[in-house]
Structure formats: C-alpha cells, structure tokens
Amino acid sequence: MDYLNHVRNYVAPALENDIWTTIDSLRKVFLHEEPSTIEKMYACFWSAMSSALPYAATVYWYIFTTLLLVATVGRKLKLRRFYIQVLDRVFSWVAVKMVVTANKEKMRRRMSLGEVDDLTSDDDDESESETTFYRDIGLEKQENLDEEVIQYKIQAEHPNSSQNSKSLESSWEEIFSEIEKTETVAEHTEMQKIPGSISCENQQKSLDGSFKKSEELHFSLDAPMVYLSAGVRAIVDNCVNSSFSREQLKTWNLLSRTIVRKKEIAKSRTLAGFFFIGLIIRYCFLMPMRVLVLILSLTNLSLWTFMVGRLPQGPFKRMINAYVVSWGFDFVAGSLSVVARFHDKHNRPSGGIAVANHTSPIDGMILATDNCYDMVGQRTKGLLGMFMSALAKSSAHIWFERTDARDRQATTRLLWEHTQHPELPPILIFPEGVCVNNTAILEFRKGAFEVDCDIFPIAIKFDPVYGDAFWFEGGFTSYCMSMMTSWAIVCDVHYLPPMRRGQDESASHFANRVRSAIAKKVGLVELPWNSLVKSSVFGTEKWDKLKVDRQREQQKQFLRELSPSQTSDPGVFKFR
C-alpha cells in the first residue's frame, strides 16, 4: 500500500487538476467503494500526460524551428556539414558495435556447444565469411576471438595495407579521423569491391579469356562449358540487375530499409535503441520539417522564376536568372538536406554542353545550386511537370517529348542553335537517358555529342550511407517520401576539363571517350549496355532487337575461337 502513499504524497500534489481526488470522490459517490489498483495507475498516468503535454509541445516547437533555420540559412553557416560529421561518428560507432555483438554471439555459441555449429562448412568457409562480413561493414578483423581486446583496423587505406591498427578502446575522434583520410575516390571504390566476386568489368572478359586459354583447336564436346558457367553465373548475380538496385552499404546507417544482418541488431539492445531513436527523429522531426520547407521553397522558386520571366530578354535578365535560380534551388535542396561538395571549380562549365551521369531526378537541381544551366529533358506530368513549366519561363530550357520523332529532330536543332550563343548558360544533358544506381554507367546516347562544341563532363558520386537517392520504382511522391525520411543526401561533384570531338572522330567514339573519363574519375563500372536494357530488367519488351544483335556477336566470338590452327595435325578440323 505504500505506493498509494507515494502517489498521494508526491505525484498528486504536482498535478494541476487533482484527478485523483476527483475520481476518488466520484467513485465514492456513485459506487460506494474504493477504486482498484489499475484504475489508480491509469489516473496517475493520464494526469501526468495531460500536464506534461504543453511542455512536450513547446519542446517540439523549439526543435522544429531550429531545424527549419538550419535548413534555410544552414548553407552559409555550414551547419549541414556539421550534421554530416555527427552522423559519421554515429555510423562508425554502429559499425564497431555490430562486430562486437557478432563476436560475442560466436564466442557464446562456441562455449555452449563446444564445436562449430555449422557442420557442412569447413574452416575456410568460416573465416572467409567472417572476413567478407567485416569487409562488408568497412572494418578488418585482425585478431582471433580468444583475446579479451579485439583489435580492429579501419580500412582507411588500401585493403591490404597493414597500417592504422586501432584498439577498441581508442577514442571516436581517432577512428573518425581515419575515415576522414579516405578523400581519394579511387581508394573508396577499392573498398566497395567485394573481393572474390567477378566484378562487372571482368564478367565479359572472363568469358573471352577462358576461350583464349583453351588448348582445344577443334570443336570438342566441352567447348560449350564456358557458356554454361557464364550463364549460371549470370543467374546467380548479373551486373545489369545489380546496377539497377539499391547500392549495398559498407556500414549500417540505422535505417530499416538497409538492414542486411538482422541478428546482430536484434541481439544488441543498444543498437535497437539507437534504431528506434533514429526512427523517431526521422519521422517526427525531420520529415515534417522537410515537407514544410519543400512547400515553401517550391512556391518561392515558382514566384521568383515567374517574376524573372516577366523581365525583357537581355544580359540583365540572365544575370538575375542565374542568381535567383541557384539560390532558389539551394533552398529546395535544403528540404532534402543535400550536402554537395564541388571539386575542381576552375573547370566549371560556361557555354557549350555539360554532360553528367544520371542517378536521380534531383541531379539537375544539385548541379544547379553551383552554376546556372539550361536543362534539356522529357516533359512529365504531376509535381515535376509543374516545376518544369515554371522554370521554362525564366530561361531558355528545352523540354521535349521523347516518343515524338519530329520533336527529337527539332530538339537537336534547338541544341545546336543554343550552342551558337556563348553568352547563354551551358546546357545540361544526361546522356544515359535513365537513372542508374551510381555504381555503373551505361552507354551514352550520341545525340548530344553530334553538336560541335565544348563538352564539359561532370561526374557525380553519391554517398549512399546517408540516404540513397537512386530512383527505380514507385512514383515520384513515394520517392520524395523515402528521401525525406533518410538522414541526408550527400554527393561529390567533380568538374572535368572540357573535351571536344576530334576531326575524324565519330559521335559514338567521342561519347565513349567522355564516358570513360567520367567513369574513371569516380570509379564507375562501364557497362556495355545502353538504356534499353533497363526495360528488360523491369519487364517491358522493348529490347528484342538488341538481344538478337548481341547473340550474334557472341556466336561470332565462338566461331573465331574455333578458327584454324597453325599445325597440320590430322586430328584438327580446319574450316574456311
């Protein structure tokens, strides 16, 4: 009964309206009996909540307005970058925690069972799977499990380097500074490749390569075996499908959509706790704030572009347009917490055509926060379409309808005319035509490369751990929702020096040259497919002719490998 006294002495006096006495008196009046235990607890809870609610609402309001300020003026004060740094620390802590949990589980299992659980996997499998796991999460285990202190080294350098070992007790600053060292993009991509798999660049080569090693010079019954293996390998994992699905992360980023290893998360209460805190932060604070900022910023942008559109044509209008549009886009980008780092700004495009790799619908917007472009794109309906028509009034954007053949020719002519005026802003084109997931780059369409002018390649690389911007399914609104409930959108934009088509160079050769330059800069795999292949992955039937052509190429390749030998061995069959 002492809890009752506790309630009476401490909680009840703190209440503004004395529900306890009210209920008590009501009961006594109507039922002539004492209220039960459960009812008393309910009464306490309800009164506590109702009195605390105004305070909670105030706190929420303060946090909300702070976030709003960060989103709007945050760029100048570099508040967004600070936010990213905080996130970095949280993720590195999560990564280490997951490994610790996994190891604890393993030790517990071994001690309780006295032998390895998994009867069919031998030692090679076990250690290999461990190293893959650690590599997956960006760390590399260095010690065996029997030691108390497990040492880790962060893969800040090349995976095979033996420097930078840190003990588990080292401070988070040291770990964080190691991650900071990975500025070079080339090292980044080295970490992303899972060793032992056939990387996409080599998938095609391995098919050809094994033929060349073969000593059979006539058709023997084992000649098809290489094709069989290649086919089954494609069934198990193929480059095209993996280029159109979400990129795999190196560390877990506290989002439910990127959970790969559920067991470690379920077993560690701290991790689960962090996950739920993150969930609340994202859905209750970040998302409503972002929706509000988006509405504000879009109306703001439409208003300004409308006003600029009313100005008479001339250099003044262009200057105002450049300034207004880039500020307006930055405001919109704030609604998604976009942090874009621009490199090599001396190569910033001016006039001519700028080409970039395509990952998301907001690519153009991100690029436009640093420089003013005239966009070329497909006319769409809905939210995006309204936006496009608002922009079209203030500058010479080119919108077209892809299915209309006449429109395509008109577009090429418009492009050419645009490039004849060097004072106009550069045109921004995404020659791939479809969104790819930022690990690979498709073949470019040659339309933009037929025009004889300076081409400025731009390479965009997103960091998916803060939020994946790749759009491959669902409508635009669900895409917006998923981006708004991520942490942030972080990307690196590299401006490459301008290129020009050679005298005798064909447009497709030039397009491949530009593509290689972009791919090498940010470490993308160059796929030997064009955008039609996306329709094959997602179910439509547009690519039959391409399929037949490619099959013929493979058949010719096989034929070449059966070609006549140099010896006059009667066992060898020669044919013309």
């Binding site: 998994d118 069919t120 058709f219 086919g231 193929n238 699905s245 099959q551």
Partner: protein, 199 residues
C-alpha cells in the same frame, strides 16, 4: 539487396537445403534474396520468362538450354510427385541446379557437385530429348545454337560428324554418358563447370 523476404525462409528449410546441396546457411540466404528479386510476380516461383529477363542470360547462345535444365528437374520429380508443374521452379529446385556448379572441395562430401554430376549436367545440355544419349542431330542442333548463321550448313554437318566419330567408340550412332565421360577425361571439368558463390 532488400531483405524483406528472408523471413519466409524457415530455418528447417535452410537446414534441409544445406544437407541436400552443401551450401552454407549464408549462401542459401543470399541465393534466396536473389531468387526473390528475380521473382517479379511475387509468386514464390520462377517461370522461364523470369530467367530470360536477365540480359546476360538472354544473349547467351545456350541460354535456353540452361533454363531448360531448371525445368527438366521438375519433369523427373513430377513422375514422383504429380503436383509439381514443369512451368515453375521453386526455391529448392533452383538451389539444387545451382549446386552442380559449386566448386569441388577436397575434404568435403560432394553430392551434387562431384565431377560426375558436373559432366552429367553438360551431357544433358546436348541431350535435347532427354533419352540418355546424344545423336548426331542433337550435336548439330547445339552447334547451331552456338555458331548461328556464321557457318554454312555443310560445314556444320561435317563438324558434327567428326565429333561423333571421335566420341562414339562402339559405333552405335549415339554417344552414351560413358563415352562422353571417356572423351572428356583430360578436361578440367572442375574448373570449367564451377563458379564462385559469395557468402
């Protein structure tokens, strides 16, 4: 890749597949994730179209034969269990066929990925009517698939006949599995018919 479907794969299923094929638990989970991503209709099974939607497989000259291998297993098991159809492949059948391509490990028991099983898989590639022997016409048909229209019909026939002469030791106009194995004695089947499965 997304992981929503791994909830549908029970531990008991994983254990039975492990015992059957020799894959480790994490490999099976990874294959299941792949299986569900190929299964566009979310029906829990794959059709021929699902396989041929993979671009690299669709342009493979032997793509159709490889896909047929998955469904061929069905027809044999259909004689035992009539409710399995030959238009769909479920996950167990999917993994069974893939198990043939597991690398051979020396200190492990290899059931589906032994040298003989791998050779049997290659044999079934040629054996179009599944009667247990390869005729000259079947060799010709496979040559057609692999070479296409880049050679004349006569040259193809000569190649096919040459191959039959070499392989058919007892001259009964067809190659049995034994003769097939004999002629491929010196081939490194382990290396050619194995692929690396990620954990």
């Amino acid at each position: 890749m997304g992981n929503k479907h791994s909830l549908m794969l029970q531990d008991s299923d994983i254990k039975s597949i492990q015992a059957d094929t020799g894959f480790s638990a994490s490999q099976i989970e990874r294959l299941y994730s792949r299986f569900t991503s190929l299964d566009k209709g979310n029906s829990g099974s794959l059709s021929r179209e699902d396989f041929l939607r993979i671009p690299e497989l669709a342009i493979n000259p032997l793509g159709d034969r490889i896909v047929h291998a998955f469904f061929q297993d069905n027809t044999t098991s259909a004689r035992r269990a009539p409710h399995t159809s030959d238009c769909w492949v479920n996950f167990k059948q999917f993994v069974r066929v893939l198990a043939h391509f597991r690398p051979i490990k020396r200190n492990q028991e290899n059931k589906l990925n032994s040298r003989e099983e791998k050779l049997r898989f290659a044999f079934k590639m040629y054996d179009l009517d599944d009667d247990g022997s390869i005729t000259r016409d079947e060799v010709l048909a496979v040559l057609h698939m692999m070479v296409g229209e880049n050679i004349s019909e006569d040259q193809l026939i000569s190649i096919a006949e040459r191959t039959m002469l070499e392989a058919d030791v007892d001259n009964n106009q067809m190659i049995t599995f034994q003769e097939f194995c004999t002629i491929l004695e010196r081939t490194d089947v382990e290396q050619k018919m194995s692929i690396k499965f990620l954990k």
